[in-house]
Amino acid sequence: MVREQRSTRMRLALSIVLTFAIVAVFVVRLVDIQLVRAEALNAASLDKRSVPMTSYGVRGDIVDANGVVLADSVDRYDITASPRLLLSGSNTTGSEMTVLDKLKLIAEETGQDPNDLMLALTADPESDFAYLAKGVTVDVFRAVRDLDIGGVFFELRPSRTYPLGAVGGNLVGFIGTDGPQAGVEFKENDCLASTNGTSTYERGADGVRIPGSTVTTTEVKNGGTIRLTIDSDLQWFAQQQLAQKAQALGADWATAIVVRVSDGHLMAVADYPSVDPNNVNGVPTTALGSLAFSTPFEPGSTFKAMTVASLLDAGVISPSTQVVAPGRYVFPNGDYIKDAWAHDDLRLTTAGILMNSSNTGISVISERLDAESRRNYLLKFGLNERTAVGFAGESGGSVPETRNWDQITNFAVQFGQGVTATAAQVASIYQTLGNDGVRQPLTLVEGCQWPDGTVTSLPPTEGVRAVSERAATQTVEMLETVTTQGGLRSILSMPGYRVAAKTGTAEVAENGRYTSDRIVSVAGLAPAEDPQYAVVVTFGKPDTIKTSAAAAPTFATIMTQVLKTFRVTPSTEAAPAIPVTW
């Protein structure tokens, strides 16, 4: 009886212990799976069902002032293949086709040589990855996809195209394999750049996404749109005209700039040669940027307008000041300044000095103001510093300190020798003269518009007064004599409009000596009675004609187009008669 009871207890205890032991094993296993190895197991299980996905953010467009697309983000496709799969002959379509047959079909669509494709495949036959074609268009991608060849795959490759080609290519810049390389693409990358999004979703056995399973780890962010101040049609016109003339003249380079006088917005900045961003290798590397911003040169006589405005502002001359311009302005040590043409003493007014572009005349009136004050005026016109555009690779030119001016330089800077400026700075000078003496910051980018509608990167609008309104107006009036009475009046005058212009023929210094090379330019404003647009046309080192007569026709053509494009009302009154001699 007692033994029976004991054995019952023993069995009871044993079963309890066993039960607890089994529960303990389960608990340990549970903790191990659910807590200790939870993450690894979760990840492993997710890998079996989940698909990682990259959603590509779209890089922002670059558009002109009217919204015409200059730089556009497009989808291109890389065609890849698994050499192992292809060469082993396992495929979905007819197995009797040889590998070369399939490659021929692909090559037909992509325009490649099937043998090249074969080489790409056989380079590493055991590999699972080889490029067949890179960056093909949607049409080619679809055609190859529809061939339905096993072992051939496709990858999205977001790319950039420039629908207008070289129109504004110098400004827009381009994107290399390492990202943006030049121009606005480079400078405004913070606005344009996009962020790719990453997310995962789970899919069923047949590849269909399981609803509600998408997990986004990085939000996709599209870039903003950069709006330029450029008018693409005018830009094209300027580039076309510039290239025609530059080729006829045999010029090494050329630039043409159109500025809206009232706010300093650049309507066109044409360079020759200029890059087609779709084919960057088509031009020498020196032409990849914008010469108008990057290349300082001694501008020559176009500076005389600024000199006259400065002296008028200082009150040392007036438009009718009577000057004797000698044939040679001789210094005590025998050095001299002379004019482009030989002449005896000329009795010129200030207007006459500008019209005849007399270096000796400018020297005579420059005597009336000290060097430091004259240099300060040059700085007020924006010289010796980069323009507000801040273009990639921009130069600010140089105006040496007055203590480094020798007796010739002392006057030569007043007619644009011994100082350097970029074409953009020269344009800025004429903008200032046309805008009643207030220099507006040159502007190329109107702003960055984000997908949510906000606009950032707004350009500065604060102007700087360089000279008085009176000085600027009088200077423009005097510049009009160049187109009404000057030697190039037949070319520079435009029917229906009053134009103020100044020519420049600058000597090019090389290794410290002036050579026979010239940089010829014409800068001007129209309409003269109320200037609205400034145009500067420059040709570097022309071969056939080495005077400013070379630049005048292009200036007139571009200015005419500007007035037409922006519907500028023709002038109603004739130009005032300003005496140029006495």
Binding site: D72, G165, Q240, T560, P570
Partner: protein, 198 residues
């Protein structure tokens, strides 16, 4: 507990045969408290209904998933088509292409515009006829565009530049060989078709 169970049956077994048959009759309350079949049926049916609804719902959801996948694929394809067409349009709309085509159609630009001021009817500007050589291109586009390579001019189909592009395609459709020198039959040379105005 099992020990007490072991003790209990013994006296009961001893007196079993002597006692008369006694049965406990359930009281009315007890009978009322007992669950009815109806309730069980309702419960089970409800459960099945829930299962069925869930099944149908998940069928609906996965049907939706297929519809979504299909529409997304369609959207992707349409976006691709749209983008390719926009790209083509932008390229064809480039100034180089337009100017070349305009010139090949015999158009020239007039450098001296004249304006009519509506307020007083005044004519502003100096009128001058456009010169034949006033075309901006001068025969060749000097502003390269790699994307335009292989894009034919609108007049290319006509064999040679005709003054009127609209007529030229009609003219050359049937008689490619005989068009040399002969003007398009529908419109006399040098005349533009009258625009439709209202």
């Amino acid at each position: 507990m099992s020990a007490s169970l072991a003790h209990a049956p013994r006296p009961a077994a001893a007196h079993e045969n002597r006692h008369p048959h006694i049965e406990i009759v359930t009281s009315r309350e007890q009978r009322r408290a007992r669950p009815r079949y109806v309730y069980a049926l309702v419960g089970v049916a409800g459960l099945f209904a829930i299962f069925l609804a869930q099944l149908l719902l998940s069928i609906g959801v996965s049907d939706g998933a297929y519809a979504i996948a299909k529409l997304q694929a369609q959207e992707k394809e349409l976006a691709r088509t749209g983008q390719a067409l926009t790209e083509q349009l932008d390229t064809l709309g480039s100034p180089q292409n337009l100017a070349m085509n305009a010139e090949s159609l015999g158009m020239v630009s007039n450098a001296t515009p004249v304006y009519l001021r509506l307020s007083d009817g005044a004519v502003l500007g100096a009128a001058a006829a456009a010169r034949g050589s006033a075309g901006a291109m001068g025969g060749a586009s000097l502003v390269p565009n790699d994307l335009l390579e292989g894009v034919p001019l609108v007049t290319a189909a006509a064999g040679e530049p005709e003054p009127l592009g609209v007529a030229s395609t009609e003219a050359t459709d049937g008689s490619v060989a005989s068009t040399t020198g002969s003007p398009a039959p529908t419109t006399p040379p040098g005349m533009l078709p009258a625009p439709v105005t209202r």
